[in-house]
Amino acid sequence: MSSVNAATDTNGTVSPIARIGEQTFEFVAEFGAMAHFSLQAFGWMFRRAPRWSVLVPIFYTIGVSSFPVVAITGTFIGMVLAVQAYSQFELMGLATRLGSVINISLVKELGPVLAATMLAGRVGSSMAAELGTMRVTEQIDALAALGTNPIFFLVTPRFLACFLLIPLLTLMADFMGVIGGAVVSTQLLKVDAYHYWLHSREYVGALDLLAGVFKSYFFGAAIALISCHRGFHSKAGAEGVGRAATEAFVYSFIAILFLDFTIGIFWNTAYNAIWPDSANLI
């Protein structure tokens, strides 16, 4: 407190340098708070199991309700990929290779990122708004006053739902994208179906599918923790809750892209270390 007083003039105005310093500290403190929040959520997973009556509705909202939107967007992404790539591949006489390009893009990158983006938009912002409203209306304080840890009751079930269900959503996005791409390529663009699937099978393996699913676990964890953290620290009023919901999506989306990049590098490094002779895929 004394340092703050030293940085203020006699009118109580804060100097610009003090303000920059204060904002830097706040930024670092925010990271610390986020890490502490995440550790608490992890810790509660091993201390006590949430009740089924709490888990089931959250799993339903996060998982089952997200299935249609993920399926629809996955289908369209597969279809759009086919339409956009076809003309170039056709010019090179490689139209039957469309399957390998569409499917590898889907299972390694677009499927997981798309499912995660949909989850962040549909579920992440809704979780932040819900928890933010609970914060503003003192329901989170009421939980604590009733002797229940709010992180255990509110965050742990949402974390488990996002973490455990996002691989299924990713597989759904992959599957629907593959089907969408195949239908457009073989039925609309008249690519030979046999060779389309043959090249797909040669180029896309179980390990590629696993790479996408592996990433999705990190995406799910990041979405749950960021969204719940924003909700827990929502400012008062409709504006505060709205901002928490927006920040939940924006920060989650940035985290998804950052994780996608770093895990991609990690995966390729590990892949090359295990199979040094193999070609480096993407």
């Binding site: 703050v4 329901q139 002797g147």
Partner: protein, 283 residues
């Protein structure tokens, strides 16, 4: 008979002993000082009303007592135990000895009234079968004068007064030793305000619960308080002046020598309007 009652309820046996002690408590949010050097002792069985202008730190004081906020400095003792020294588990156990009626009731809006009232007993694994749990919820709702059938509704379907009463029923479900009321009559009509005041009195008399009531409703003060503590906004204090400007009997407030106390009791703006138009009001 009295002996049996005393054995059953430790609040009676230990009546008059300090149960909550705040020692040199200060609380600030960034640069904004809300509470400064507060010393306050609350004894078992008494009902203390904490009054003061909006923004003077009454609700913050209440949240410090139950450990929902940690003081910037100072010590909060509950039954002789420093709350800052408690781990998660002990803090949760300690909070079960409190009941908290929030300003807007803070009912869980995704749950029915039954689930709200049954929340505490369920979460803390009280050995109740469904029939016993239903009886407990029915009894608590009946105590606060709510009709049967209401337990299947959601909080959004209730009036403000009904929500407050459900909040009280939920707070009483675990038989607390201390009840904390945050502006229990705010936003209610005069009749419903009196109903809530009666329920506070009834709770104190029937269960011998220690009560801390944060309010600026003088009717509540007159009706329920054994003792009144008045806080003054820190920003308006002169240097070195204590923030608690009154601590004593409710009847003596009207004739207290401090003008600020008398003005608050009578609801007089005094010089405040002039200060506000001059822009010097910083409370």
């Amino acid at each position: 008979m009295n002996e049996t009652l005393t054995q059953k309820n430790p609040s009676i046996a230990r009546a008059g002993e300090p149960i909550i002690e705040l020692k040199r408590i200060s609380m600030r949010f960034r640069r904004h000082v809300v509470l400064q050097d507060i010393d306050l002792t609350i004894r078992r069985g008494e009902t203390v009303c904490v009054i003061g202008e909006s923004g003077c730190g009454k609700t913050v004081l209440l949240k410090l007592i139950i450990g929902l906020l940690q003081p910037s400095s100072g010590v909060v003792l509950f039954d002789g135990v420093d709350l800052a020294g408690l781990g998660d588990f002990e803090m949760s156990r300690t909070r079960l000895r409190f009941g908290f009626l929030f300003q807007m009731a803070a009912l869980f809006d995704s749950m029915t009234i039954f689930d709200n009232v049954a929340f505490g007993p369920r979460e803390h694994g009280l050995p109740l079968n469904p029939a016993e749990l239903k009886k407990l919820v029915d009894d608590r709702l009946h105590e606060v004068g709510l009709p049967s059938g209401i337990e299947f509704k959601k909080p959004a379907e209730l009036s403000g007064g009904q929500r407050k009463r459900v909040g009280l029923a939920r707070a009483l479900a675990l038989d607390p030793e201390v009840m904390l009321y945050d502006e229990p009559t705010t936003g209610l009509d005069p009749i419903m305000s009196d109903v809530i005041n009666e329920l506070i009195l009834q709770t104190q008399r029937a269960k011998h619960v220690t009560g801390v009531v944060v309010t600026h409703d003088m009717k509540t003060v007159v009706k329920v308080a054994d003792r009144v503590v008045m806080l003054y906004p820190h920003a308006r204090l002169k240097p070195g002046e204590p923030q608690i400007i009154y601590d004593g009997d409710p009847d003596a407030m009207e004739t207290h020598p401090d003008l600020r106390v008398r003005q608050f009791v009578r609801g007089e703006a005094g010089e405040r309007l002039k200060e506000m138009s001059n822009g010097s009001d910083n409370s």
